[in-house]
Point group: C2
Chain length 327, copies 2
Amino acid sequence: MAITIIGLGPGSASLLTREAWDILSSSQKVYFRTLEHPCIPDLPEHIERMSFDYIYNRAESFEQVFSDIVNELLSLGENEDVVYAVPGHPFIAESSVTLLVKEAEKKNIPVRIVAGLSYVELCLTAVQVDGIEGLQLFDAIELEQQYYPSVNPDFPLLIGQVHCNLLAGELITVLTRVYPENHLVYLIHSAGNTDQVVESVLLDEIDLSKQINHLTTLYLPPITEVSSLAGLAETVAVICSPEADFVLPDEQKLVTDFSTISNKTISAIEQKDDDEICHNLGELLHQIVLHAEISSSDGGFKLSNVIAHINSKLESIHNQIGADKNN
Amino acid sequence: MAITIIGLGPGSASLLTREAWDILSSSQKVYFRTLEHPCIPDLPEHIERMSFDYIYNRAESFEQVFSDIVNELLSLGENEDVVYAVPGHPFIAESSVTLLVKEAEKKNIPVRIVAGLSYVELCLTAVQVDGIEGLQLFDAIELEQQYYPSVNPDFPLLIGQVHCNLLAGELITVLTRVYPENHLVYLIHSAGNTDQVVESVLLDEIDLSKQINHLTTLYLPPITEVSSLAGLAETVAVICSPEADFVLPDEQKLVTDFSTISNKTISAIEQKDDDEICHNLGELLHQIVLHAEISSSDGGFKLSNVIAHINSKLESIHNQIGADKNN
């Protein structure tokens, strides 16, 4: 037998694709991950609406919820054709689907995915930004669990499922590690629905919004000044490009520059001069990027190799310390 | 009068939303950016199909195309209600829409956006990856114009509109500045349509594909080892976090470490030992990140400030040299 997974889109039944509507309409019974979705009342009456909402009430973690749902669907799918419907698009913010597809493959149960509109399109419309220009998509809870957020501030950022003020507060802590506290951002509530609200607020005040709910998304426009390592690497690459007519420094000059900047940095640290430290660390970063630029143009190591090398060293030292402590 | 902009979705008419179908069906005349879209033959026969394909044939640049289309729509919109239909979603990879919305606002012509499914959902389905885990969206031509690509290799990357082998070849040059040449990537052709093909290929061989066409998207899974500065900053932040029980180095230790690493780096450069240079540049990068971590935890400068500072300095020197040359 087979499992058909349908994306219900982000709002009313008019946002369903015609394909999704046709399949739902011709089904006698549909399993909904949750019945808390605005399109449900408008679906054809004859559909028997099953739901997994009861699992949310009894489970102790989201992992447990998804694994219970998947097990139930798989055991159904072994005996009958199953239609499973989820909010939005099955492959955007739907952990139950990723897991279901993986497990169904192991059991040789065929799976068909029927796409749905995601909240991404509606949020882009709400803030009138084209998503192809480097948009980054994150889940609020994933990002909140980081100390330093894995985002590039030079490109637009959409953070889904900012479902409560507490979570918004925790996002402030993480995001201000990179963005200025007074960066102007947008809270989008109920994107694309008749009650859509777009609030423009300062980043460090997003947790004061009175409208945050389970349909809230946070949009951060890029920072005005280039602030990512990739952006700096691009600037250096442009300067070093043949078009720029720049004479690459020879080895002696590289050593002299490097040594001068090192000494300045050390002296700034000794004098506790924060502005000078920031400035000289930047000069040093430039030297690192320049070395990697010269090396990689020549088929040698890349900047990403430099990072991967030190990161893996730090991680293994850190893990070793953790292991020693636990012994 | 008003302009309604409709997203036609990424393929057959069954992928249209019901809302888009209803508006199209009740329209006498629709302006299509292009009639080269698989859903057009299946739209109701009574619709008078206008198109801007003729502008592509006469214009000298894409900018010219979009500006001509927008001017035409604005002048129509001043006298009648206009329905303008574009492939996919109006706010994903549709320069004509961003421009139209901006210009219509100036002329006080109301604009309504009717969302469409974009190729993003269908590509995520094709590679069975959930988009909320840090997906980055770029346009092939935008990325190809960079020397150093503004991408984070630790997260999934979707590059739209890889429409010919030449462009694929240029993407290899840019992307291998960050990714290994033999990184396994996916070319997705005609995502979601009956003739969908997903090819898994090595990054440096994508231009050998025989199937690249105007509906080709490139998907790059993340690199296995953490290779972004944000990833390194997260590792350092975890090590420095209160939970990790790590004793922050005092100023004297910072200076000593820094000085030792600087000397090692200089000696590696002098000995032309590439592995040692790569290794020591990493150690140095660690020191920069550590300084910024300590400073920003204390309310001082952030790592993004360090980057912004040096980048803006380099850009102004570079622009000055350019200006001097032109005088």
